[in-house]
């Protein structure tokens, strides 16, 4: 069975569920994805009546993490009289994880949302495809069989989906939103209970085996085009600080320019802040206007946190985030010791 039929089924299913939820007044509004105006894009949409349900869409280009719109809530999610509305969130695995992790940071009240689970099979790495197509305009993108087919004025090119999936999605083990037994009403649609996640992190072994010079070159090359527009930060559901560290000016911690040291510092500290919090949605890379790939950094973080603290983010709303927690027996092999 090809990808496209699977996706169509998911979409039909999604619309059914959404319709039901709105009809039975189980939710006040639903946030989901709708068709974008450009071939490689999708658009977030908020609907509050049954008629609009058919606008909802699901495909491999729905890469925005919708949890972003809940912290802080967009004005439509707050009723002037009733207060916070009950929001149904069309959730692939990582959106569900983001919501649950945000709940563990007390940013979301899980009673005020409903997770509409979707089994996600990964999103297309649009930047990679765009770069490979190069200086030709993409007019149409479709998924047929297991290929992404990109059409333009005088070309047509197929990309195997497995390879041109966003890197983070390739190793994703949480494709459906996690089911939380404590909140039986939280999830509708396809969700799954995860007990323990086994991840070998084979994908970054190659990177880890590089020499420091090679790593430095890789990082500096990748980040050299950064314009510091902070799209990565704004698209990240975990970046909800009122005042980001780069914007702080009392004192000014780090430079705001696009000089390499400043750019490196920004990404380094942001990575620091993502430890144990990143939910591997890949939104940061996919929104980057310059096409910078931050996936490797996020994967590495996941690995560090998993290996050191045995933690996977976004599976348990009651779990204490690892960076505010400690164990007496945490590994400390990196500490200086007398010989």
């Amino acid at each position: 069975m090809g990808l496209e039929t699977e996706i169509k089924d998911i979409e039909t299913n999604l619309r059914e569920i959404a319709k039901g939820l709105l009809k039975e007044k189980k939710v006040d509004v639903i946030i989901g994805y709708m068709e974008g105006t450009l071939p490689m894009l999708s658009q977030p949409i908020i609907i509050d009546n049954e008629e609009d349900v058919d606008k909802l869409l699901w495909n491999n280009l729905c890469y925005v993490n919708l949890a972003k719109y809940l912290v802080p809530r967009v004005p439509r999610f707050v009723d002037p009289e009733k207060g916070n509305l009950k929001v149904g969130v069309v959730s692939k695995g990582c959106v569900g994880r983001a919501l649950i992790h945000l709940a563990s940071e007390n940013k979301i009240n899980l009673d005020e949302i409903t997770i509409i689970g979707i089994p996600c099979n990964g999103v297309v790495n649009r930047q990679r495809i765009e770069m490979e197509i190069g200086e030709k305009e993409i007019l149409e993108v479709s998924v047929l069989g297991n290929n992404v087919i990109v059409k333009g004025k005088d070309f047509e090119k197929e990309f195997p989906f497995d390879e041109y999936m966003n890197d983070l999605c390739k190793g994703c083990k949480i494709r459906k939103p996690p089911l939380i037994s404590k909140y039986p009403d939280l999830c509708v649609g396809e969700c799954e209970e995860y007990s323990s996640i086994v991840d070998e992190f084979t994908d970054i072994e190659e990177y880890d085996s590089k020499t420091p010079e090679e790593k430095w070159k890789y990082i500096t090359d990748a980040l050299s085009v950064c314009t510091r527009c902070y799209a990565c930060r704004e698209a990240c559901p975990m970046c909800y600080c009122n005042l980001c560290f780069v914007d702080q000016n009392k004192p000014i911690w780090f430079g705001k320019t696009t000089d390499l040291p400043d750019v490196i510092v920004y990404h380094l500290i942001r990575a620091m802040h993502m430890a144990g919090r990143c939910v591997a949605c890949g939104a940061c890379s996919l929104v980057c206007p310059m096409g910078i790939d931050l996936n490797k950094i996020n994967r590495k973080l996941e690995k560090i946190v998993k290996e050191r603290f045995g933690f996977t983010s976004g599976l348990d709303p009651d779990a204490k985030p690892p960076m505010v927690d400690f164990k007496m027996e945490d590994a400390e092999e990196f500490m200086l010791e007398e010989d």
Partner: protein, 151 residues
């Protein structure tokens, strides 16, 4: 952070010496450094000490800012696990240090520039030994140039 107040003498024939900023926790390591001094235990003059209330106070900003400000190395020292004056400050910090250390390595920045250690108020000798060790590590790495801006 301002520049080190004492300039390390660098004459032509002398070899390069690193400058290391050391964040010491008030309750253990700072007292440990003091003990080393009172006991006249020699340790390299490369470190400049900043006293902080607890190693848990150390934010990654401090460390990275030090590197961008041109310090060749950063040393953070706190109480031994379990001995923290604030019960668990150093344990939370330890996780942070672990992440930072690995991330630096990931970015291709020599992780040896940033070192962490525990030293209690009674361990003047240990303090001196570890400072010596940290200085050697940083010295081997050479000057910190990765964060230098073009002028």
């Amino acid at each position: 952070m301002t520049e080190p107040s004492v300039e390390i003498k660098q004459s032509e024939n002398k070899e390069w010496e690193p400058k290391i900023i050391a964040f010491l926790c008030n309750w253990c390591s700072y007292a440990g450094a003091d003990l080393a001094g009172v006991s006249r235990i020699q340790y390299p003059p490369n470190i400049r000490i900043v006293r902080v209330p607890c190693s848990g106070r150390i934010n990654a900003y401090f460390i990275i800012k030090s590197l961008t400000d041109g310090w060749d190395g950063v040393l953070v020292s706190g109480c031994h696990p379990g001995d923290c004056h604030y019960i668990s400050g150093n344990l939370v910090a330890r996780r942070r240090f672990a992440i930072l250390k690995e991330l630096l390595e990931f970015f291709g920045i020599e992780p040896g520039r940033v070192n962490f250690m525990w030293a209690s108020a009674a361990e003047g000798e240990r303090f001196a030994v570890l400072v010596r060790k940290a200085t050697e590590i940083v010295k081997k790495l050479g000057p910190n140039t990765k964060f230098e801006k073009k002028w």
